[in-house]
Symmetry: C2
Subunit: 349 residues, 2 copies
Amino acid sequence: MFEQREKTELANLGEFGLIKHLTQHIKLNQKSTVKGVGDDAAVLDFGNKKTLVSTDMLLEGIHFDLAFTPLKHLGYKAIQVNLSDIYAMNGTASQVTVSIGLSSKFPLEAVEELYEGMLLACKKYQVDLIGGDTTSSKQGLVISVTSIGYAEEKNICYRNGAEEGDLICVSGDLGGAYVGLQLLEREKQVFLSNPNIQPDLEGKDYIVERQLKPEARIDIVDLLAKLEIKPTSMIDVSDGLASEILHITSQSKKGCKIYEEKIPLDPMTVDTAREFGLDPTVCALSGGEDYELLFTIKQADYDKMKHDVDISIIGYITEESAGNYLITKSGNIHELKAQGWNAFKSTTA
Amino acid sequence: MFEQREKTELANLGEFGLIKHLTQHIKLNQKSTVKGVGDDAAVLDFGNKKTLVSTDMLLEGIHFDLAFTPLKHLGYKAIQVNLSDIYAMNGTASQVTVSIGLSSKFPLEAVEELYEGMLLACKKYQVDLIGGDTTSSKQGLVISVTSIGYAEEKNICYRNGAEEGDLICVSGDLGGAYVGLQLLEREKQVFLSNPNIQPDLEGKDYIVERQLKPEARIDIVDLLAKLEIKPTSMIDVSDGLASEILHITSQSKKGCKIYEEKIPLDPMTVDTAREFGLDPTVCALSGGEDYELLFTIKQADYDKMKHDVDISIIGYITEESAGNYLITKSGNIHELKAQGWNAFKSTTA
């Protein structure tokens, strides 16, 4: 967890030396990348398709804790989080830019690890790293990623296209990333109070990975294309199911009903949530960081995907005046509220 | 300088509330903007032109000092700095995304001021603000901007196209931003040692503005088009003349000779540099942040622009083996070195 490695000081390399060092292994694969790193701007060519652009910022102490986040995982996740937004438009991601703010006490080897994780994600998701900015930071580590992609105009899924009667679908399972974070924070506290005790994460691989190394769901975008389903609306689950569904209904000027029993939860998420005295459903609704895709489809498309076990239908779209409600397992009705992670109130430490 | 204003706490607004509040006045003007803020990604359409992308990160304590940087100016500058990179490709900037990390103690009014400056720059330079990310920061203010633009393929100017015999040109004047910074830092120290002494910047407007409110040189890009000159290479002056010219010669596999007496300096820059015991030429070579355009042109194009007073010809490109040299006013020859601002060694504040 806190192993010792050889260290090279960044100050000896300088900004240009560091950029050269880090970017020497970048390979460009995308036809649309005309020019990558090395000039004032990258040059792209999307022909007649629409270009998609999304950006996210990750700050130490807010979005990640270096005490339990391996840098390689962090780099990987920083890219994923961003690609997920392009996939949530039903698009194909093709390029990313990466800006990093580093403490000058950060050794080169640490930056290399971070970059290694980023390049691994780029390779896996077939996107080109085309540029960025590297600077020193007086405080913590800062990572800002912008992703670029494309789509045929007719295939783009906005948040505002849901219609009354549409089915609400979500990929994978929810709440795991949040419960995984609780576990990592508990083990950090144990470690801080007694550094001789090694973290006990045995048998919890799945939820720890959900937190540290989420995978953006390009496979769902591909599956939908194969099934010839165009969602009427789509969004990725970064802030929690409740918050995301309310984005869709408010932008579509509709309401919704979702069913607690239909929300997909992994057994490990359920068990571990209970260990922490948390309601697993609340973890799914408000936990966030699952990076699954939430989307609505026409009822007529139901037959095409009813056999797909990795997509759950959790409710349906209603008229706006009917409001947004969760029907609990016991049949109670609760108004859905966005209690998602509020970046200005609760922060991880 | 440190006036008191009404304050609204960000925590009461929440992330979505803040985004909604800040983005409500954004107007989209670019034909290429299909969808701006409000979905997972923005959607752009560049038809058959090439798309240009550039990104920069500004960190408090490294790139700016809030003690003497008005937030509106900071917002304005953050956009400029980025657009400058698109212009340095001989392109047209069309969109920007903005990610901001804010301390939760930052009042809403301060964020509004920052945003106001950004939107003012967007309006002036006719670019659309199409998205971004807003999050809390445990440390200082963090701003990351990505700009997007376009150009016809035949018009794009890379750094690597300079040929032997080409003339080296630079717009405007150099060194002013750096000398302006020295002035602001001195007045900050005076203020800190005695808060009753008001800053004495009288008569220094030009160089203070060069530091606080630089203007990206879209007018030079337009002028070159009007004169039917396509530079053989181009870069913007962010790190200092020496560093930028070495980017051009190393990427073009050429050398250069530049003449000290030809480097454009404003009289105020010269006088104030001397007040500080600085060599004005060194301020131009290594100061940075001038955001002028440095470019090379074929000798045959000289006649087209010899009457333009806002462009100076400062030297010429040589073969690579001849090296990179500065000829001083006294006729001495110095090897050019990139002593530009090293983000990992010297930092402001």
